[in-house]
């Protein structure tokens, strides 16, 4: 049977089919150059500014979920089966403005108008996010859109007026949209394979199919959210050659909770993971809520964050401190590796050829366990960290530390446990003296780098301060935000 080598999606409600899309063609380029819909703007092509924001709609239970994403780093192949909404597609049939657009007019939320289409789309997604009506959520929703003209306050006012309202024509035609989205579904077994002049793209639908593909093509790039991979294309202009998408394999997006662990599929995105972290590790959830921006969290995955193995990734320190394990899979079967053995060297992991990360297994906390993770960066929102620290402590009845796991990002070539500091805490009460001893031990654990983001001195000092902060919160608990600006 011939494999389909085209993808289909709905562009503002109209059916689109792209034959043999180039695997690295971004949605932004497709819209502007092929569709000639120039409403969607490019401000950076790096996921930072949100001018390119579009909304993806897909079935979620009995409703259509709408998510704001950065079209500049999203590949067109990932549109398959989805509804793509752009700023041109929101108006009513009679030309009337969408409530998100109207709110921006009324509050004078647009000046030069260049960031505006992106804000319109973010506000549209916010309009359809019933759980995001509080002030903090609204700030999170706007975290991925830059504006140089307005000073934001008018946009914020507009955002407040539309958040969670969800009563537009899209809500009224939800059933119809669901029907049309269902109509785009592929018959089982019709996995997408595109082998064209620009390279090859596969979207396998099962783990077994992925195993086979990776055995045959161990050099292919795996694509989860693409928020790291996309930059290779847009920023470094790299040709990827062969891309295998992880986004059509249901097992990989699954998040399962057992009695003793949370198992996060490697291709589950942050937005879906977040509510599952809230209960067990509020501090971890608070950190993830500030990872990247709303758009980035809608695409990016924890699996990608770990596999990317950047020394300043935000989730690895927390995962290391929580004692998470990497579930690694290949055609030969599965193996489980404690995460500290996963990161080998700068951007090098323990994955062998043909292997991939299937899931992360995060042990659930026992009663009395203490966990905190913090990130220090230039700015509260949407910024990479200079230093990220995570602290897990278990105590005996007498309040002595029986288990300490401390991990940092930004302090070494890989995210790394601070074994010396851990040892300094073991068997002691978690108090100022113990923390001082642990901080002293940090000096041997790490030799951080000096760069323009932060000096080595500052990094070392802040690493210690974060541990102090953990102590402070242990003794005087309050709700931490987890992100500090540098």
């Amino acid at each position: 049977m011939a494999m389909p080598d085209a993808i289909s999606f709905l562009l503002n409600g109209e059916l689109r089919r792209i034959e043999r899309p180039a695997p690295e063609r971004t949605v932004l380029d497709h819209l502007r150059l092929v569709e000639r819909r120039t409403g969607t703007k490019e401000g950076c092509a790096e996921g930072d500014c949100g001018a390119c924001t579009v909304v993806l709609g897909e079935r979620s239970g009995d409703a259509v979920s709408y998510r704001a994403v950065n079209s500049c780093i999203l590949f067109t192949t990932e549109l398959d089966g989805k509804l793509l909404l752009t700023v041109e597609g929101l108006r009513d049939a009679d030309g009337g403005l969408h409530p998100a657009q109207r709110a921006l007019v009324e509050h004078h939320g647009s000046q030069c108008g260049y960031c505006t289409p992106g804000f319109v789309m973010t506000l549209f997604a916010l309009h359809h996010a019933p759980e995001m009506t509080d002030e903090d959520s609204i700030h999170q929703a706007l975290s991925g859109n830059l504006c140089r003209c307005t000073g934001y306050r008018p946009i914020l006012a507009a955002a407040r007026s539309v958040a969670g309202v969800g009563d537009d024509r899209f809500a009224r035609m939800a059933r119809e949209l669901l029907g049309r989205l269902d109509g785009l579904r592929r018959a089982p077994g019709m996995a997408t394979v595109i082998d064209g002049e620009y390279g090859r793209y596969d979207a396998p639908e099962s783990l077994a199919a992925l195993d086979r593909l990776l055995t045959a093509h161990p050099g292919a790039h795996l694509l989860a959210g693409g928020t790291d991979l996309g930059l290779l294309v847009t920023k470094q202009h790299r040709a990827l050659g062969h891309v295998i998408s992880l986004n059509r394999i249901p097992e990989l997006s699954r998040i399962e909770a057992s009695a003793d662990a949370l198992i996060v599929g490697a291709a589950a995105n942050y937005t879906d993971i977040l509510p599952r972290l809230e209960n067990d590790w509020p501090s971890f959830a608070a950190l993830i809520r500030r990872l990247g921006s709303w758009q980035i969290r809608n695409l990016g995955t924890m699996g990608g964050n770990v596999a990317n193995a950047s020394p300043i990734g935000d989730s690895p320190p927390a995962l290391l401190a929580l004692g998470a394990e990497a579930i690694i899979r290949s055609a030969g079967g599965e193996r489980v590796l404690p995460l500290e053995r996963f990161f080998l060297a700068y951007r090098r992991t323990a994955l062998d050829a043909g292997e991939y990360l299937r899931a992360l297994r995060i042990p659930r906390p026992a009663a009395g366990d203490f966990f905190r993770t913090y990130k220090v960066s230039k700015r509260f929102e949407q910024d990479i960290s200079a230093v990220c620290g995570a602290f897990f402590l278990r105590f005996d009845d007498a309040g002595r530390v029986t288990l300490a796991r401390i991990a940092y990002g930004g302090m070494a070539a890989t995210p790394k446990r601070a074994v010396g500091a851990e040892a300094a805490l073991a068997g002691r009460r978690f108090d100022a003296a113990a923390v001082d001893a642990a901080i002293a031990a940090l000096a041997d654990d790490f030799t951080p780098i000096d760069d323009f983001r932060a000096s080595a001195t500052y990094r070392r000092h802040v690493a210690g301060n974060l541990l102090r902060r953990a102590l402070m919160e242990r003794t005087a608990p309050e709700t931490p935000t987890g992100v500090l600006a540098l």
């Binding site: 120039t38 409403g39 969607t40 703007k41 490019e42 401000g43 950076c44 092509a45 790096e46 930072d48 500014c49 001018a51 752009t86 700023v87 041109e88 929101l90 108006r91 403005l97 657009q101 921006l104 007019v105 004078h108 647009s110 000046q111 030069c112 108008g113 260049y114 960031c115 505006t116 289409p117 700030h139 706007l142 975290s143 859109n145 830059l146 140089r148 003209c149 307005t150 000073g151 934001y152 306050r153 008018p154 946009i155 920023k235 202009h237 220090v376 230039k378 700015r379 929102e381 949407q382 910024d383 323009f452 983001r453 500052y458 802040v462 301060n465 902060r469 500090l484 600006a485 540098l486």
Partner: protein, 784 residues
């Protein structure tokens, strides 16, 4: 009948000057129908991409284009030699400023593509022209450039040091302009006699402008007509056309047309002609096809002119009562590698005009050295010397207050100029026409609840946070409105077009201009269009910059409207068979006084279009092409008050309260004015707390992406409470004062004075911009 009149009167009232009328362009921009430079495309267009220097300073030994020419799709690779052969001229600094020695500015004759030397990282070396954007980019990677590196000079002090290499052979000591203003001897006497001298060294940090729309352009050449068209975002098509025709193409201006659609922000940066445009114009003629270029953000960090970058010593001489005797400012300004279009203006004349602000300063001395370095050229950025000057003065006053024990409020009150002193001739030579500074000040303190600060500070302290409050009192001298066109065209479709040469890049000129014209001519507001981006339509045009657009175009529209009425009156008199002296014009109609015989303006326009048999000597049209002659500057002023909270553990700082009272003279559209203040405050906050431009010793830009260069995001801004205290300007018919740059002028000092106030209790004596958490944390640690 009556109801209809009532309805149209109500409509007119809703759009009258003074009303917060929503913007005409919003429905276009909000639905993605804006037309920015990158949205222009032409059949058969070629694409250009630039090869840029990776060295901050070096001698070009060879540029080998052969491999690039072999890249499929590449049509040509242009180098400086090609442009020189074509006889193209260079990019000249467009201002003239006297120097201490009377010689003026030493020019830096910049060619669009470097010929023998590269002078900053990002300096264009070659331009690849290809069938597609991707091919052009591939081509740039294949161009082999051989450069012998020379010592790079990043900071002005290093560039001035004895023995430093010359960046330009023509400019000894790398000193492009040594500027001096004032009577040094008398100022020195005043300082010698002073009871107290406050002295501060301040950094006015370099800003990457980062308009959200990257620069882009498309050039076309009409071989038959011998004419170029350049589609490009700028701040005024008339001036840019003249510069390009005169300096670069060396042809009469009629042979060049500049077309500008929507502009996605500029703040001074897009006003200039840039090297890329020269390459496109050349290539369009050479290859007979349209040529397009779009910048990428990583390149725009290097290639867009930067802003600010001055190191300043300020000194204030005071008598025993805290009254100012003299002010002395010494500026070391980093101009970058080339003198940009208006580069030397900000640190020199604009400091002179603005630094004394709204205080009585009997004696003023300003010395400025404009120094060349191996960095991106520096030009105007929102305010161009105005906000910074206010910043210096306000920081000095706080410093003086702290040192003398005088209250910060009191020292300002003692030095205020009073309303009764207007018009007032300042030491700068500027004549302030109007303003009531003590009243503005009092209202600002009230609005900010200055009295309640102590309680708020105590509350912050309970949460472990340091709290500070700061005043940013300012007066800005706007750019004087230059010759500006006031064109009014009655169109066939019954609409009326305003033609003028200012050009908005986000300000929303259409709406307030239409409000003024609708009011003057009694026209329906929604029938009025604005044409601002076509140089062919203009007979004059000063462009936008220096907060002068409403003054320049507004005045031009007012005068042009009066001419429309004069012309209309004569024609109406003929039609109504009355003497023109008996015709009155009101609410859009010409009427024989005391009768009900009348004709509406639009009706008259329609009749003229249909063809009227008019006697000799009567105007044939209502259309007007008027030119408003220059007017003096205006003096917008105000007082902003900021409150910050600082976490001493991490140095994290947040602006938690912000209020602003401004005098912008008459307000045409308060909503847009407040929007300008918001935006200006945000940019000021960015400069004060976040935006840090970092070069390494070799001149590489380290903060070269949005990830590494922190711009304010939505959560960085506090609620901004605004009030107005308008005192109409007497220098223009509308009484407006200009509001575009004031937000920066108030926010830089207000925020930094608040930060300094918060840190003072911990013994921190000094803090500079940007007051990043790292810098605050280090200052706190050092003070311990």
């Amino acid at each position: 009948m009556n109801i209809r009149i009532a309805a149209s009167e109500a409509a007119a009232a809703a759009t009258a000057p003074g009303q917060p009328v929503p913007r005409r362009e919003d429905p276009i921009l909000l639905t993605g129908r804006g037309r920015y430079s990158d949205d222009v495309r032409r059949e058969g267009q070629l694409h250009a991409a630039m090869v840029r220097s990776r060295h901050a300073h070096g001698r070009i030994l060879a540029i080998d284009t052969s491999a690039a020419l072999a890249v499929p799709g590449v049509v040509a690779v242009l180098t400086g030699a090609d442009l020189a052969r074509a006889g193209l001229g260079g990019l000249r600094c467009q201002v003239q400023i006297p120097s201490r020695d009377g010689q003026g500015i030493r020019p830096t004759p910049r060619m669009a593509l470097a010929e023998d030397r590269v002078r900053f990282v990002g300096d264009p070396l070659a331009c690849v022209v290809a069938e597609t954007g991707a091919a052009a980019r591939d081509g740039t990677e294949a161009v082999q450039v051989e450069i012998e590196p020379l010592e790079a000079l990043v900071r002005p002090r290093a560039a001035l040091a004895p023995g430093a290499p010359r960046i330009w052979d023509e400019v000894p000591d790398n000193l492009a302009l040594d500027f001096h203003f004032g009577d040094a001897a008398r100022v020195a006497e005043a300082f010698a006699a002073a009871r107290h001298v406050a002295r501060l060294d301040l950094v006015n940090n370099r800003i990457v402008v980062n308009a959200m729309e990257p620069r882009a352009a498309l050039a076309e050449y009409d071989t038959a007509a011998g004419r170029w068209t350049l589609h490009v975002g700028c701040q005024g098509v008339f001036g840019l056309r003249n510069q390009i025709a005169r300096d670069i193409l060396r042809v009469p201006p009629e042979r060049v047309r500049i077309l500008t659609g929507h502009v996605g922000g500029s703040f001074g940066m897009k006003a200039s002609a840039y090297p890329e445009y020269v390459c496109l114009l050349h290539a369009a003629r050479e290859f007979g096809r349209p040529v397009k270029w779009v910048d990428e953000r990583s390149e725009s960090f290097l290639s867009d002119q930067h802003g600010r970058d001055h190191e300043v010593r300020g000194e204030l001489a005071l008598d025993e009562e805290g009254r100012i005797l003299a002010l002395r400012i010494d500026v070391l300004a980093n101009m970058g590698a080339y003198l940009a279009t208006v580069g030397p203006l900000a640190p020199t004349q604009n400091v002179v005009k603005n630094v004394a602000s709204l205080y009585r300063v009997p004696l003023l001395e300003v010395s400025s050295r404009c120094v060349l370095t191996n960095t991106t050229p520096v030009s105007a950025y929102r305010g161009a010397g105005r906000p910074e000057s206010n910043y210096y003065m306000e920081r000095l006053l706080d410093q003086a207050a702290r040192e003398t024990g005088l209250d910060r409020v009191e020292i300002r009150r003692r030095n205020h100029l009073r309303a009764s002193e207007m018009p007032y001739r300042a030491a700068s030579g500027q004549i302030y026409d109007s303003g009531d500074f003590p009243a503005v000040f009092a209202r600002a303190l009230d609005l900010a609840d200055w009295q309640g600060f102590a309680a708020r500070k105590a509350e912050s302290a309970r949460r472990g946070l340091l709290r500070g409050i700061g005043i940013g009192h300012y007066l800005e001298v706007t750019a004087p409105p230059t010759r500006e066109m006031g064109g009014i065209r009655f169109e066939a479709d019954g609409e009326v077009t305003i033609v003028t040469g200012t050009l908005d890049y986000g300000q929303g000129h259409w709406t307030p201009f239409a409000q003024v014209l609708a009011d003057r001519l009694g026209l329906p507001f929604e029938r009025i269009r604005l044409l601002q981006g076509d140089s062919d339509a203009l007979i004059a045009g000063g462009g936008t910059g220096g907060s002068k657009s409403m003054m320049a175009s507004g005045s031009a529209i007012v005068e042009a409207a009066a001419r429309v009425i004069e012309q209309g009156r004569e024609i109406a008199a003929h039609l109504l068979e009355a003497a023109s002296a008996d015709i009155e014009f009101a609410a859009g109609r010409f009427r024989i006084m005391g009768t009900d015989r009348s004709i509406g303006l639009l009706e008259l326009a329609a009749r003229l279009r249909e063809g009227l048999d008019l006697p000799e000597g009567l105007p044939r049209t209502l259309d007007v092409r008027h030119v408003f002659e220059a007017a003096p500057s205006a003096f917008p002023n105000g007082c902003h008050v900021a409150e910050v909270e600082i976490d001493p553990e991490t140095g994290e700082v947040r602006v938690v309260r912000y209020s602003a009272v401004n005098d912008f003279g008459t307000l045409i559209n308060p909503m847009l004015v407040e929007g300008q203040v918001h935006g200006g405050v945000a940019q000021g906050l960015g400069q004060a707390l976040m935006e840090r431009t970092v070069h390494d010793a070799e001149g590489q830009l380290l903060s070269g992406s949005f990830m590494d260069y922190a711009m304010p995001r939505a959560d960085s801004l506090p609620e901004i409470v605004q009030a107005h205290h308008p005192v109409p300007a007497t220098t223009n018919p509308l009484g407006v004062k200009g509001c575009g740059e004031a937000g920066c002028a108030g926010s830089l000092p207000a925020i930094m004075n608040a930060v300094a106030d918060a840190l003072a209790e911990r013994g921190v004596m000094h803090i500079d911009m940007p007051a990043t958490p790292l810098r605050i944390w280090e200052a706190l640690r050092a003070a311990r």
